[in-house]
Amino acid sequence: MFPGVDGFRWSFAHIIFLSAFFTVVLTILGTLASAALRTASDLRGGRAAGIAWKEEFAKLPETERRCRHELAGRVASRLCPNAFDCRHCREYGNYAALPARNETNTLGLHYPDNRFYHRGHTWVTPQDDGTLMVGLDDLAGHLVGDPDVIEVPPEGTEIQSDGTAWQMKKNGHTIRVRAPLDGAVVETGGPQKGWYLRLRPHGAVDLRHLLRGPEVAPWLAREIERLQLELTAPKTGPALADGGVLVAGMMDAMPEADWDAALAGTFLEA
């Protein structure tokens, strides 16, 4: 650098000064670089989905981060600290033991008990051959109606829990459906088949983190309440006020409503 600059004379001050300066610069660049490198390794190592979900979860409004046990009435108020992954939750056991308020009114929506429900409105049913069926639940189905476009991953794709399971397009909205759990796609279906993906899990299947039984109805109630608020545009008027049966294909039924928010809330987008 300095050699070759006419009239420049090195001094002790220069050494100190410049070394301090370059240390600082290197630290800054180092920070940036390490962040970039770790990001890259995460992307490669398949940790990306998890991290991304955790980040996104943190951005969700608190009303959508409630613990399943609060929904089930086992605890007065609790924020989920684990991004809805009860498999690593320490308190899970303690709360799960408590009695749940047994509410069964699914408001005429079809929520069979043999299914496990993900907070992103997908359901999972284990098959006898060890594979898992994954589908879109009834509420989501009512909202979306029949999508314009469906992009299901090709067979053999590894999908990660809370990562993207498949994508749908409807009235210009892109809907990302979160995967309820990890696995490799062995078969793909669609709305008319009633299911979307058949996954082959790796190792033992732990469905603890999915809602089931008594937890479903209260959760639904919350979801509908949220939708009610978000969809209540002045023109449409109270859509679900009667608490009766939802019309199918609500996105078509009331296009002027704030679907952006509604869908994001439904499919756990920040």
């Binding site: 009239g7 600082v24 962040a35 920040a270």
Partner: protein, 420 residues
């Protein structure tokens, strides 16, 4: 406000309540106009040279340097809050951290931009890194500010990535996550850098042996102004942060941070201000009675030229120093929002006045026996550039507020609202 039309809804955090796009545009429009004017004026100065300004050989520094010094001092809130949160672990200040970072970024980037217009040969800016003079305070300033601006940018990125759209997609999200985890390092670095250049900005004038009004004795290589500037900056930074927050709350009509947070900021500000005033008074006494007379300048000479009377000194130390310190510390006034903000405002005025006196009065006063006392009125180009900087700040902050989570508290309140 569900009825409000939000064409940019998809960019705004869900649940966060923002005014309609139209009203927002309306709010931005005048600022944008001012910014354009500022850029035009700066362009004139760059194209035709600094003869567009009213600076001259005696007033070699003018409005811009005053502006830069003030803005950077006010921007000190950024590094100081970061310092308190990450280094001293004051987690209670976290909700305001993002706002502080954005504010700091605005102040520093703006100041650097104006500096680039202010120098006669911007293309040679890098010469300082090429053959630095390590004895020059300005070298210190250049190095630290350029580094710290880099730091602020890095600190700003995670905040940016918290935006609903920018943060979409796994890479962005993961990068944000990773960077966020490293921010403490940056904060530490930032604190180190800022402490230094805030000081060296003070040293800038303290070392002017040829200007007895500014010259100060000091410790080792640093004149006393070095330390006074650091103190005043970290004292007033939080106050400014407070004012800005209050302004945002007034404009949006919604509470952004808990009351007690503002009061806590005020308290910190007040204590530091008190210390600063004490130090400043001692320094002034030493300067008036020892430093200045020793080179043949009678103390009162410096205040013999109206409007730069000794009243100015009184205002700076008492009205803009002691009084706000009292207002910010004394519980009864501090509990009253109006008094609290008044205190903060006074403190900010104090630092403005101090920087003004340092930059302008120093040059206006004669040194040679046959010198005249000079005055200087900035040209419209200078003022417009100044305005442009302010507009830039307002615009960036408005955008950041609209699309980024500046105030940690806000989301809960937003959801409360929607939950009602």
């Amino acid at each position: 406000m569900a009825s409000a039309v939000l064409t940019d809804r998809r960019w705004i955090a869900r649940g966060a309540e923002r005014t309609s796009s139209a009203r927002f545009a309306l709010w931005l429009a005048p600022w944008a106009a001012l910014l354009v004017l500022g850029i035009y004026a700066a362009g004139l100065c760059l194209y035709y040279g600094l003869n567009q300004t009213n600076m001259d050989n005696r007033f070699a520094f003018g409005l811009w340097i005053f502006l830069d010094l003030s803005v950077i001092a006010l921007g000190a809130g950024a590094f100081f809050t970061g310092f308190l949160v990450y280094i001293l672990g004051r987690a209670d200040l976290k909700p305001i951290l993002n706002a502080a970072v954005v504010l700091g970024f605005i102040c520093y980037s703006g100041a650097v931009a104006v500096l680039m217009v202010d120098v006669g040969q911007p293309l040679r800016g890098w010469f300082t890194f090429w053959h630095p003079n390590t004895h020059s305070m300005l070298t210190e300033v250049t190095f630290c500010i350029s580094c710290y601006l880099l730091v602020l940018t890095l600190e700003y990125i995670p905040v940016l990535l918290r935006n609903r759209q920018l943060g979409k997609g796994q890479p962005a999200a993961v990068f944000e996550y990773r960077l966020h985890h490293l921010v403490p390092v940056l904060a530490g670095l930032g604190a180190f850098l800022s402490f230094f250049h805030q000081g060296s900005l003070g040293g800038l004038y303290g070392v002017l042996r040829g200007r007895p009004f500014a010259f100060r004795e000091g410790f080792s290589v640093w004149p006393s102004t070095f330390f006074l500037f650091v103190l005043s900056a970290i004292a007033v930074g939080p106050s400014f942060l407070m004012l800005v927050t209050a302004a945002v709350e007034k404009l949006t009509g919604r509470r952004q941070v808990p009351r007690e947070l503002l009061r806590r900021l005020g308290f910190i500000s007040g204590i530091l201000l008190a210390v600063y005033v004490a130090a400043k008074s001692i320094d002034t006494l030493i300067w008036l009675n020892v430093t200045s007379p020793s080179v043949g300048f009678a103390p009162w000479e410096h205040y013999a030229y109206p409007p730069f009377g000794s009243a100015l000194l009184f205002i700076e130390i008492v009205l803009f120093g002691l009084v706000p310190a009292g207002l910010l510390i004394y519980p009864r006034t501090a509990r009253n929002r109006r008094w609290l903000l008044t205190g903060a405002a006074l403190a900010c005025c104090g630092i403005l006045l101090n920087r003004f006196v340092m930059t302008v009065q120093t040059l206006a006063l004669p040194t040679l026996a046959f010198d005249e006392f000079l005055s200087y009125i900035p040209s419209w180009q200078e003022v417009a550039t100044f305005g442009g900087l302010i507009a830039y700040g307002v615009i960036v902050f408005s955008l950041s507020y609209r699309y980024l989570p500046l105030f940690g508290q806000e989301k809960r309140e937003a959801t409360d609202v929607s939950g009602r």
